[in-house]
Structure formats: C-alpha cells, structure tokens
C-alpha cells in the first residue's frame, strides 16, 4: 500500500533513510547487479535533491519515485551493451504461448506466510527474477514485486496496456517454471 508523503517535509537524510532501500531494491532487481544498482541509486538521489520541486503531487510520492528510478535504470541500461537481448529472443522461442502445463502436473506445496519465508526462499525468488529476460523482468518487478498498477507501468515503460499484460503473463509463466522444482511436492 502506498502512502502519501509530503517530500518537502522530509530532510534529505530522512528521504535517504525512508526511501533509499526501496530505490536500491528496484534498481537492483531491474538491472540485476549491485554495481549498476548503486550507480542508479546515486543518480536518483542526486535528481531527488536537485529536482524535488518537480514533484507536483499528481501521483503519490512512492509512485513518482518509482518513475524516476525506472527512468534512471532504463537510461543506465541503454548506456551499456545489452547482450541479454539475444538471450531474450532465445527464451521467448522456448516459451509456450499458453500456460498449459503440457505434461503431468505435480502439486505445489503451500509456502508459509510472508513473515515465515526464509532467506533461502527469498534468494531463490530473487535468482529467478534475475534470470528473467529483461523485457519480462521489468514488467514483473514493477507489477508483482512493487505492486504498481498496469496503467502506471505502461506509462513508465512506454508500452500499451495489452503489451504490459502480455509480458506480465509470460513473466509469471517463466517464474512459475523456474520456481517449480523448489515448490513442487515430491511424487509419492
């Protein structure tokens, strides 16, 4: 749930304390490595300090901050070689169009509640996210991890709403496939 903040009421140190981990997390998940995430986080905070007055309150501050972070991450990504594009094409070709399991379906074990998920499980999910092709990872992180609305994501990524839904669906299928070995119950 997003909360409405008046960023002008926060000192830069408070902004760093309250929003630093969120900005870093988003950048880390979009870019897939620590070094790039650190660069982008610094870039975002520099913009934040210098252009806080460009926040007009038309969206919530967290949504605005997500948009600034996504823009910075995409610009950063464009600035370096994108070898992953080739990988994207290969993986898309391997992915079935529909979600049909196409074989015997094994039951997934029910994971415990949010608080009870251990670090190892989080690492598994993070690794699966990092393994997503970039075009699916972007949408998945913004929608399912960050909880942003599809319309906001469409605006941030300059995509149509159908494209956001289609990519999100494929990302979920890829995540499901990547996580299945860890969550499927053993066959008796």
């Amino acid at each position: 749930m997003e909360t409405a903040h008046d960023p002008a009421a926060l000192t830069p140190e408070q902004v760093l304390h309250e929003h630093g981990p969120r900005v870093y997390s988003l950048a880390r998940r979009l870019l897939g490595n620590d070094a790039d995430a650190e660069d982008v986080t610094q870039e975002v905070f520099l913009r934040l300090l210098r252009k806080m007055d460009s926040f007009r309150g038309e969206s919530s501050f967290p949504t605005w901050l997500s948009r600034v972070t996504v823009n910075a991450a995409l610009a950063h990504r464009r600035g370096r070689a994108v070898r992953e594009r080739h990988r994207t094409r290969q993986e898309v070709d391997l992915l079935p169009v529909e979600g049909s399991p196409g074989g015997p379906v094994r039951r997934w074990s029910e994971p415990p509640d949010q608080q009870a998920l251990d670090r190892e499980t989080h690492e598994l999910i993070e690794a699966a996210i990092a393994g997503l092709p970039v075009k699916y990872r972007d949408v998945y992180v913004l929608a399912d991890v960050e909880g942003l609305a599809n319309a906001d994501i469409a605006g941030m990524l300059k995509l149509g709403l159908p494209a956001v839904k289609s990519r999100l669906h494929r990302a979920r299928l890829l995540m499901r496939r990547a996580l299945a070995p860890h969550f499927e119950e053993a066959t008796p």
Binding site: Y24, T41, S100, H122, I125
Partner: protein, 92 residues
C-alpha cells in the same frame, strides 16, 4: 475450444478477474473437476504471492556511504536554494 484450452489462453484474465463473469464462472466450475487446471491456477497465483513477499534488498554499506557523501556535498547547494546563508568561515 475445450475448457482446459480456454483457461490456458485466458489464465491472466481469469486470475485478475478481468474476463466476462459468465466465462469466469464456467472456468471456476471447470477447476472443480480438472486437477491439472486447478493446479495450474494455484501455482500461478502462488508465483504472484511469492513475489509480493520479497523484502527490500538491503542497502549495501558502500552505497549508503556514497549517498551520505552525496548529501554532504549537496547540503550547501540546498541551503543556498532555500536562501540559507552558508555557515561562517572559521576565523584565521
């Protein structure tokens, strides 16, 4: 089209409850008699739920230090923008 195929094609809309109610109800009834489809929906929903359990990635100490250095460097600039006087220079 078979219900299994309909569900596979409309899985996103089914889970998001963005399909016509009549079709949604028909597919919901189908899940009661088709274990593979029921498991597909369950596992699809679980992947969404798992993503939402992720905590923020901790800010690495190196990153925190860089941001603090940035704040320190920008503080005088921010002060000027707000019309604050810079602190007086130490005597001597």
């Amino acid at each position: 089209m078979s219900p299994c195929r309909q569900l596979a094609r409309g899985l996103y809309d089914f889970v998001a409850a963005e399909m016509p109610p009549q079709l949604h109800d028909a597919l919901r009834r189908h899940l009661e008699i088709c274990p593979p489809c029921a498991e597909l929906v369950r596992s699809y929903r679980l992947t969404i739920r798992l993503a939402r359990t992720l905590p923020p990635v901790p800010l690495p100490p190196t990153c925190r230090a860089r941001l603090q250095a940035l704040l320190d460097a920008e503080a005088p600039v921010q002060g000027e923008r707000r019309g604050l006087s810079p602190p007086p220079s130490p005597p001597g």
